[in-house]
Symmetry: none
Subunit: 197 residues, 4 copies
DNA sequence: CATTAACCGAGACGGTACGTCCCGTCTTATC
DNA sequence: GATAAGACGGGACGTACCGTCTCGGTTAATG
C-alpha cells in the first residue's frame, strides 16, 4: 500500500476508502481480475481515479488490499496434540485460500507480482510470514512434548501444507474440502511423527 | 492452439512454427512474460504477426504452447524402492518447474487459466494428467510390494508433491534444490510407509 | 495494366479475365472503392489472388481497367457548327463521368493515383489524351470556318469543359443533366465566339 | 470532428489541438496523404494517439480539419468591374487549391467524401458554400450594373470556375499559374458579358 | 504422345496501419 | 488539500489488407 497520510488540509474521506474496497471486491467477483480496470473501479465507486492512486500504488496493490490482506488465521490453539494443531493449520489455510475473492484475485496477483522481484518479496512476506510463525509455534510445542522426529524445518513443513492446499485449489482446481483437509493432515502427521520416540 | 489445418492452398511453414516457438522461449527467458509482446515475438522470429495469430489465439495460447506443452517427465523407472521412485518424481517435477521459461510463464499462465474454464481444461490435461499417471504407477508398484499403508489416494499424493515444489518456487520464492527435494522426498516416504507391514 | 503475356505453357483463361472484371464492377457498385478488397474480388470471381496480380499491377490498375478504361467517346462529328460540336463534347464527357462505375471508382482512383507522380502521369494521359484530340479537332474546324476568336488554347478549353462536368458531379454532387449540359455548352460557345468575325 | 465538449473534469488542452493540426499539416506536405500515419502524427505532435481520436473520428476527419477547414477566401472586393472581380475569384480559388497541404489532401478527401453521404454534406458546407456566396455577390453586382447577359446561374458559374482550376491542377496536373488564371478569367468574362447591353 | 512451362484455386507469408483499450499521471473546478 | 471528472503520453492489443510466394493440380503448345 502507498498510504502515507497527508500532513495538512482536508482529511481523507473514509467513505471513499470503503467505497473503493467495496467496488473492487464486487468487481473482482463480477468480472475477475483481468477485466478489472482502474477506471471501472473508480466508476463503480463513484470516485476519481486519483483517489485510488492516492491510496494504492496500482492495481496489484489495490487488489491485494481488497482481496487478500487481513485474511489472517486465528492464533494457534496448542491443543496438546500435534495432529489437532495440524488440522487447525490446514483448515485455516484452506479457508483463507478458498474465499471467492481470493480465488478470483490470487493467481493473477501472483502473476503480476512475480514480474517484479522487489514487489514479489514484499507481497510474499506479508502473505507468508504470519503463517510461518504459527507453523514454528506448532512444531516447537510438539518438539517440547517429544512428539517429533528430530530435524524438521518449519519452512519445509509450511511449504508442504501451503503447497498442498494451493495445488489442490489452483492447480488441480478441486475444492479443499474437509475430506481433503483430513487426508493432508493425516499424511503430515505421519510424516512428522514417524520414527519419533 | 487454433490449428485447424487448411484444405487447399499453401501449407503452413514448419520453419515458421519453430521460429515462433523458439522466439517465444528466448524472449520469455530474456524479458519475462509481461514484457513479451506479440510484435516483439514476430520481430524476433522474422515473422508477421498474422502468422502467429493464425496459429495461436493470443498471447496466453502462444506462451502456453511455448513454455508448457510437451515438457514431459521421463517415464517412471520402478526401482523396486518407493523412496527412490519418489526421489525421481520430486526431481522431475522440480526440474520441470524450475526451467527459466516455465518460471517466467507459469504464474501468468495460471492466472489466465483461472479466468477461463475452457483454457483450464486444456491446461489440466497437459500439465497435470501425465504426472498423475506416473504417481499412480509408483503407488501401484509400492502397493504390490506391500510397502504402502493401505488407503492412499494418488491425487492427494500428487497435490502434496506438486504443491510442495510449486510453493517452494513460486510462493516462498526459493530454489527447489537437491536439499529441499531430499526433505520433501523423505517426508513423503515417511508419510506413505508409516504403519505399513 | 501488367499484361505482358507468357511465352510458352498454358494460355490465360479468358473466362478468368471476364470473371475478374465482372466481380470488380459488381463489387464497386455494392461496396464502393474503399471496401473493395483484392481478396474480396478474388473470392467473388472464384479466382486466386495470383490470377488478378498476373493481370493487373494492383488495386488501382484493376479498378482503372474495370471502371474507367475503354469508356471512350464516339469520334467527333464535325457538324459544321461550333455550338453543336461543343454540345456533343459536353454530352460525351458528361456521359462518361456519370456512369455508376465511374462515379464509384473515379475519386478514389484519382486519390490513389495522385500519390505517385509516375503512375499519375500515365493514368492521366490515358484518361485525357483522346478527349484532348477531339477538342483540338473541334477548335481547328471552327478556326478554319473563321468562327473563333483568334488565340484559344485547346488545353484550356478542355480543362474548362472537363472541369465543369467534373466539378458538377464530384464537387457539387449534382447530376450533369441536359439542362446543365446546355448551360455549359452555351457559355463555352459565347466565350469562344465573342468578338469573332 | 468529434468535438462534443466534456461536462466536468480536465478540459481539452488547446496546445494539443494546435500541435495535432500543425503536425498534420507539416506531414501532409512532407510525406503526402498516403504515408501520413496516425502514429506518425502523434509522434510528431508529441501526443498520444488517444488525444487525436478524442478529437477526430479518423484519418479523414483529421486531414479534413487540418487541410481544408477554415481556408477561406478574402471577402470579395466589388471593384466595379466584372472582369476584375472574376480575376479575384479565380486567383483566390487557384491559391486555395494550390497550397501544398491541399494538393496533398484534397484528392483523398474527395474520395472519402464520395464514399459517405454524411461526410459529403459537411464537406460541401465547408468547401463550397462560402465560395458560392461570393460568386453570387459578384454576379449580383454585375447585374445591378447591367454588365450581365440576363439569365445566368451562380451555381453554373461556380462549377465552371472551380472546375477549371480543379481540372487544371488535379486532372491535367499542371500549375494554375497567372497565365492560366488570366485565360480562364478572360473566357469567363466573355461568356458572361456576351450580348450584354 | 510426352514434356514442359505457365496457368489455376487456395491460402500462408512478411509487413504495416488501423482504431481500441488500459495504465498511471496531470489538470481543471468544486468543496 | 481532497474530491469527481476526465484529458494526457505511452504502448500493446488483435484485425485487416497489401502484394508475394508456395502448394498440388490442370491445360495447351512444343518437341
Amino acid at each position: 500500500m502507498t498510504d502515507e497520510p497527508q500532513r495538512g488540509g482536508r482529511p481523507r474521506d473514509t467513505r471513499v476508502d470503503a467505497a473503493i474496497l467495496a467496488a473492487t471486491r464486487t468487481l473482482l467477483a463480477e468480472v475477475g481480475y483481468g477485466a478489472l480496470t482502474m477506471d471501472l473501479v473508480a466508476g463503480r465507486a463513484n470516485v476519481g481515479k486519483a483517489a485510488i492512486y492516492r491510496r494504492y500504488a496500482g492495481k496489484q496493490d489495490l487488489v491485494f488490499a481488497a482481496a487478500v490482506h487481513g485474511r489472517t488465521l486465528d492464533p494457534p490453539p496448542d491443543s496438546g496434540d500435534l495432529r489437532t494443531d495440524l488440522r487447525w493449520l490446514v483448515g485455516g489455510i484452506a479457508r483463507s485460500l478458498s474465499s471467492p475473492e481470493t480465488r478470483a484475485a490470487l493467481p493473477a496477483l501472483l502473476a503480476d507480482v512475480t514480474a517484479d522481484d522487489d514487489v514479489a518479496d514484499r507481497f510474499m512476506r506479508t502473505f507468508v510470514a504470519e503463517e510461518r510463525a504459527y507453523v514454528e509455534t506448532i512444531l516447537d510445542q510438539a518438539r517440547r512434548r517429544g512428539d517429533l522426529r528430530t530435524p524438521v524445518d518449519a519452512e519445509v513443513v509450511h511449504s508442504l501444507v501451503l503447497g498442498a492446499i494451493f495445488a489442490r485449489i489452483y492447480l488441480l482446481r478441486k475444492p479443499a474440502d474437509k475430506a481433503y483437509q483430513h487426508e493432508v493432515t493425516d499424511l503430515a502427521a505421519k510424516a512428522l511423527t514417524e520414527g519419533a520416540r
